[in-house]
Amino acid sequence: MDTESARSKDVDQALAAVAVDAPREADIAFDSLYRSSRDDVYAYVAGLLRDRTAAEEVTATAFERAYRKRSRFDRGRGEPRAWLFGIARNAALDELRRRKRHAELATDPLDGEGAAVADGFEQSERRLAVAAALDRLQPAERELVALKFFAGLSNAEIGRVIGITESNAGTKLNRVVNKLREACDGIE
């Protein structure tokens, strides 16, 4: 009798521990989102801000805000990545606005610019030309490039993030790519 009672108590304690330790659904979903999007968010923010230190701060802020709002996320209103990039975009734009109010900071070179030396001459020249062309883009255009090529978002996700339709996002992207190509041709 005593043995049965003790066994039952152990089982109860184990179940209670599982119940306490079991992460909530929102936490699991956020953890998955964080792992799959950490580098993409950083890439987007860094591409938009062109400042590594600020990009790190903004990325951390974006994830923190998303973490605090994780319970409020409604899957019916869109994909989690679009929601996360919307938060990151707001944080990045707030940072841009703050920088505009203060002094204009010098921009950091993009990763490819530094690595150009290690690659072949033609390839490195091409990278430098594209980087220079990216510098000449308007911030809104550079944002599209960052969302598409750095963060890897689909046109539909881009549309959700910046508040336009998918086809409009595609059209704008096409226009930016053409502009980029023309700029590259001009530089080369």
Partner: protein, 395 residues
Amino acid sequence: MESNRDSLDLSATVRSLRPTPEPEFAARLDARAADGFPRASRSWGSRLVEMADRVRAVPPRRVLAPAGAVALTAIVVATAVVSVTGTDPGNPSVSRFGAAATSPPAADRPAGAGVQHGTQAPVPSSSRAGSNSSSSAGSTLSEFEARSGASWLPSIAPHPSGPYASRANRRDIERSAQIVLGAEPSEVRAGVARVLDAVHATGGIVLRSSIQDGDEGEAGASFELLIPSPRLGDALATFSAIAEVRSRRESTQDITAPTIGVEERLEDSRARIESLLGQLSEAGSDEERAAVEAQLRAERRLAAALRSRLTSLRRRANFSRVSLRIETGAPLAAGRNSSGWGVSDALDDAGRILTIAAGVTVIALAILGPLALIAFLLWLAHRTLARRSRERTLD
């Protein structure tokens, strides 16, 4: 074909420029994510922000039930408070819950409405209640005039101080009181004797009395008394000392206006009688004399009625009517039947509580609704401005 290849090359080149986070930063961020992004500082401001974040993080579906419970609790508490303070929407002067009744402002009461007081509420000597006795006096005299054919009488101008006679030098206040005493059957006789002694001591009059012997619940006594108004307080104090006071109610009614009105009409009537007597002495023919005499008879009947009415009004002001009952056995609920609290009483109380609850809800909505709307509009404006400001950053 070449264009596609160019595009692919360009895309690949742009992708190769993709910034990647420093390993140290990535490790730091991973650690913070694992810890649930703890806040660096623990100042009051950050705690408030954290609390607000937590509140905001709760999904609306989960907020609805607690918010509803809080609203319901608030309504119940407000209803209880309103009920206990005794404000009855239907009859503000009477509380069925036994608390001291509250009187509405004089302006809100119909003319002639009396002021009622509970056990603990003394009668204010400067009560300014209006009077409805004027209407009853007026109707009686009008009937008299109609019957006597005195419609030829000139109409009397109202008292210059208005229907409440607010500029009168003295107020005529009619007072009344009901008092219920509880006693043992063996104490009833002694109590009756003390009541009569008190009435005689104050110079009062016993209009009616009834005494019954018997067991508990049967034995008792009841009195209808007239007590000189200036000594009403003393009399009630004496009655209250005779036995346990189970209930006591006092009411007042200002009868200044009808008293002054009747006095003025009586003076006018006397003047008209004098005038008619003069006409009678100067009458030249029998027909003329007969006509004047008819008018004189009618006027004298009117004057007699007015005198009677004035006497009655003065007696009401000078003497207070007191209903006193000595009962034995368990006390009866005030204002209820001897059968006690029943289903109809429960329904009445439920209806009353629901009415108060509905009133509280309407008032709360009237206050909170506009505030919520303003807050929503401000939030909407702030959100729109913030979004536009962010978008302008990219221009």
